[in-house]
Symmetry: C2
Subunit: 209 residues, 2 copies
C-alpha cells in the first residue's frame, strides 16, 4: 500500500538489530488518517466475509484495530499479556516468545468474548518471527471460531514468520512488505509484488495442532 | 452520560476488591459505537480548545483514545510502560504505583512526539486512585505542553484520585461517576450530578512541582 510505504520511507528509522522505528505514526504516536486508509484497504480485501470480530494483541496493535473494527462495524477484541503462569478455565490462552525482549509471556482472551460463533479477522502492526501472530491464531482455534483472514501493517519478509504461517495455509494481507533494510544507510527495500497466500486462499477452522 | 451508565448497569460486573469488570465493552472487547458516542460527548465539551494531540496510557485506554483522536482530527499519542529503571534523555518520564497490581512502573513518551508546542487532551478509561493519571499529567508538564483537559470514561468518586487532581485545579470530565457499588448485590450507584471542576475551569501550563 503506497501511502504506508511512503510514510515508512519518510518517517521510519532503521535501528540496529533489524528494528524499524515507526513510533512517529504507528506504535506510539498514531496517524489516524493513515490508519483509516489502511482499514479501508483491508475492508476492500476482506469486506465480503462474514466477520463478527476484529482480534488484536495489546498494546501497539489496538489503535489500528479499533479503526478497522469501526470500518467493519464490529467489536474489537484485544488479547492481554500475562507474565503469570496461572491457568484459568475462563480464558483461551497461548504462549509467545518475544525475540526482541528475550522473554516468554502468556496471552489470553475471555471465553465469554470469543466463541465458536465468531468469524475473526486478526489485525496486528508487525509480523517478523510470527510468534505473536501464531499465538493469536491459537486463541481463535481454541475458541472453535472461524479465522477469516489476517491483516498486518508491516511484514519483514526476510524473517520467517510470514512464510511459516502461509505454508500452514493462512491468508495474510500485509500492507507493507519489507524485503531488506540497511541500518547504515537507513534504506528500506519493499517487495516488488505483494505476497499474500502461498497456496490458494482457504479459510480455516479447527485446523491447528 | 446515559448510554455509558446503562451499559455499565447491563454489562458491567462488580468483583471483590472494588473492581468493576467492563471487559465486555471497554477494556478487552470494545464496543466501537459506544466509544464513538463517548468521543462525541468529549468533543461537545472540549471541542473549542486548540487541541493538537490526544494522550493516553497503554493498553486499555488506546481504543477509546483512537476514536477520540479521530473525532478531534488530531494524532493519538500513547505513553508506554516500562519496568526497567534506566533513564534516557530521549523520553519524558514519570512513575506510577498501581494499587491493583501492587507494583511500581515507569511510563514514558518520546521527547520528539510531545513538545512545548502541543495542546493536550488526556483520555483514559478509569480514574480511581489517580496515580496513572497524575503520571500522564507529569509527562505533559515535563514537555512544557499545555494541558487542555482530561476525559475519563469511568471514575470511582469514592476513591481519592479525582478529588486530589481537581483540588490541584485540573479539569476532568468523567462520563460515568460511580459513587458506590456493592459486590454482594452487583448494585452500582452513580453520582446524581456530574463533578467536573472544584474550582472554576482553568488551564494549566508548567504548574507541576
Amino acid at each position: 500500500m503506497k501511502a504506508l510505504e511512503e510514510k515508512i520511507l519518510t518517517e521510519g528509522r532503521v535501528l540496529p538489530g533489524n528494528i524499524l522505528l515507526v513510533d512517529a505514526f504507528l506504535n506510539q504516536q498514531v496517524d489516524i488518517d493513515l490508519m483509516k486508509q489502511m482499514a479501508e484497504e483491508w475492508h476492500s480485501y476482506f469486506g465480503e466475509r462474514p466477520i463478527t470480530k476484529i482480534l488484536t494483541l495489546e498494546a501497539s496493535g489496538i489503535a489500528l484495530a479499533a479503526l478497522v473494527a469501526e470500518r467493519f462495524g464490529v467489536p474489537l477484541l484485544f488479547a492481554k499479556k500475562y507474565e503469570s503462569h496461572n491457568i484459568t478455565g475462563e480464558r483461551h490462552q497461548s504462549i509467545v516468545h518475544s525475540y526482541t525482549k528475550q522473554k516468554t509471556y502468556k496471552i489470553a482472551v475471555s471465553k465469554r468474548l470469543l466463541t465458536s460463533e465468531d468469524h475473526v479477522l486478526i489485525i496486528d502492526d508487525f509480523l517478523a518471527n510470527g510468534c505473536a501472530l501464531q499465538a493469536l491464531v491459537d486463541l481463535v482455534t481454541h475458541a472453535g471460531a472461524m479465522l477469516e483472514g489476517i491483516g498486518i501493517a508491516i511484514e519483514k519478509t526476510f524473517q520467517p514468520g510470514g512464510q511459516n504461517l502461509r505454508e500452514r495455509g493462512y491468508e495474510i494481507y500485509a500492507l507493507a512488505q519489507i524485503k531488506a533494510f540497511d541500518e547504515e544507510t537507513n534504506d528500506v527495500v519493499f517487495e516488488p509484488e505483494p505476497i499474500i497466500s502461498i497456496f490458494s486462499p482457504e479459510r480455516h477452522k479447527d485446523q491447528h495442532g
